[in-house]
């Protein structure tokens, strides 16, 4: 059943063609702007943060591609959950014989799948036309392994991102106005996930903070896996960190959800 929900969600998002086109265009424009700032910086410091110029530019375009897929600065499908909490429709959802957390995960996965095919692919292709980007290199086996590891890292990143956004949406049971919380979340998420600049370019203290937070698992880890910044054991360790965050945050989400449900008062009439 969750697969069916996921598929319907994929289809639903695919009907907003104009909005998708607009999103892709905006991401591409920002990709260009960011690329030129990276170019200027990496020309002065060719191996900043351990990335060469080509890897750094690829990092920019992966970021623009994954911004929507991993919902780094929006709530993704969970904005619907948030609306339903705010207007009380969530009471109807709770009657349904489904697990709420899994239901919304299926909806969000459908969204991410659609955006992977559009918002991720198009900006990366455009970026690849104008800049020299770095694809996985090495022997055939190494290349295949990198692509496979990237796919796994992306799935785990989506899980971690979903778990955090689920928690943010659930705060709606306690707070009336979520705009403040959301804004703060987007800021922290963009900055500490390494979306603007790789966290290896941060000052040591800030880098340590970033490493201790779950946001790295959302963006920098999958990007680094794709750019082959880890050896085999390093990759496994990085994926392990992602799994750990996913388990912890999804568990926390369940806990908060069970508390939140107790708060719901259904008004008759």
């Amino acid at each position: 059943m969750y697969a069916a929900v996921c598929l319907r969600s994929f289809r639903r998002y695919s009907t907003y063609r104009a909005a998708t086109g607009a999103r892709v265009f905006t991401n591409t424009v920002f990709g260009f702007i960011l690329s030129y700032t990276y170019l200027a910086l990496w020309q002065v410091r060719p191996h900043l943060g351990g990335y060469d110029l080509s890897a750094a530019l690829t990092y920019v375009w992966i970021g623009q591609g994954l911004l929507s897929v991993l919902a780094i600065n929006d709530l993704g499908a969970l904005s619907d959950l948030q609306t339903r909490i705010a207007n009380g429709d969530v009471a109807v959802d709770l009657f349904r014989p489904v697990d709420q957390q899994r239901w919304w995960l299926a909806v969000d996965a459908g969204r991410a799948g659609y955006q992977l095919l559009t918002n991720a692919l198009v900006p990366m292709l455009v970026g690849g036309l104008f800049f020299h980007l770095r694809l996985p290199q090495g022997t055939a086996a190494a290349t295949v392994a990198t692509w496979a590891a990237t796919a796994v890292a992306l799935l785990l990143a989506l899980l971690v991102s979903y778990a955090m956004r689920h928690l943010i949406a659930l705060t709606g049971f306690w707070l009336l106005d979520l705009r403040g919380v959301q804004l703060v979340y987007y800021l922290v998420s963009c900055f500490f996930s390494g979306f603007f600049l790789p966290i290896t370019t941060f000052p040591p203290l800030l880098e340590a903070v970033a490493r201790a937070l779950p946001f790295v698992a959302v963006f920098q880890v999958p990007a680094d896996v794709f750019l082959q910044r880890y050896d085999a054991t390093g990759t496994l360790a990085a994926l392990g960190v992602q799994v750990a965050w996913a388990v912890v945050l999804l568990g926390l989400g369940r806990l908060v959800q069970s508390r939140a449900v107790l708060k719901v008062v259904v008004q008759g009439g």
């Binding site: 260009f32 030129y36 200027a40 705009r179």
Partner: protein, 270 residues
């Protein structure tokens, strides 16, 4: 003239109403305002992290880049504060609620620009203004009356140019309500671009901001004069003083686009 005054007065009434509404929930207001302040400050943190690794970006020092950052953010912030609400037009077109607005005896632009006026957007203005003041102190420009005039005209023209992009861009909501996000590329994207020196971009891109969507007139060109820098495009030097002309052209173009948009409005009928 009387019409314009009437429109402004109505805009003022609507704005005051929304400010009172926003202040009715002070906690939420302050949180969102601080959030806005932080959101716009994040870009500056990125610039500072970049300057931890280098003394100059595209040949410009940190105070010089901060000047670009401050002027870009301040002008965008003011434009966003005054007319940024127009980006909700797409939703109204889809719902058909533009009908009610068009039958009221107040110009549609005044109503829609004041609609849900968000005082919290002053957060960006305050943050960019603070960075601008810091950069001016660091730069220690040898002020002359002409420089002061160019500086004031930069702030006014920049706000008008960004405001025109908001108005002109939102006119497209009448044609394609769903593609409204494209406008963000020119407003927020444009402002991000103007935070960095023109020297780091490909020449064709800079040329596009002079002769296409004239964002270069917001701060790049006047900054070349104020900071005494060479023009990477080698344009005639009067371009550095032409921002007010560019701003007036932008306002005219935006007005034309807006009128065309309103005329072509077809109600959804709901």
């Amino acid at each position: 003239m009387a019409e314009a005054l009437h429109a402004l007065r109505c805009y003022g009434h609507i704005v005051r109403m929304w400010i009172r509404a926003a202040l009715a929930y002070p906690a939420s207001f302050w949180m969102t305002m601080l959030g806005n302040l932080g959101a716009s400050g994040m870009d500056f943190v990125i610039i500072i992290v970049m300057f931890l690794h280098t003394h100059a970006l595209g040949g410009w020092s940190l105070p010089q880049v901060a000047f670009l950052y401050g002027t870009s953010g301040l002008t965008l912030g003011l434009a966003d504060l005054f007319v940024g609400s127009l980006d909700q037009l797409g939703v109204r077109v889809r719902e058909g609620s533009v009908d009610t607005i068009l039958v009221r005896p107040v110009p549609a632009l005044a109503q829609l620009a004041g609609d849900r006026f968000a005082l919290r957007r002053i957060g960006r203005v305050a943050q960019s203004g603070a960075v601008l003041v810091w950069s001016l102190v660091q730069l220690d420009l040898a002020w002359t009356p002409l420089k002061a005039l160019v500086f004031v005209s930069l702030l006014l023209s920049g706000t008008l140019i960004f405001g025109s992009v908001f108005v002109g861009g939102s006119a497209f909501h009448f044609f394609m309500a769903d593609a409204a996000e494209v406008q963000n590329s020119f407003t927020y994207g444009g402002a991000t671009m103007l935070q960095y020196p023109p020297t780091i971009y490909a020449r064709d891109i800079v040329r596009g901001t002079v002769f296409g969507v004239p964002l270069a007139f917001v701060n790049w060109l006047p900054a070349l004069y104020l900071l005494g820098r060479n023009d990477p495009l080698g344009l005639p030097s009067w371009f550095r003083f032409a921002s007010p002309v560019a701003a007036l052209l932008c306002v005219a173009a935006a007005g034309l686009l807006w009128r065309t948009g309103v005329r072509s409005y077809r109600s959804t009928g709901s």
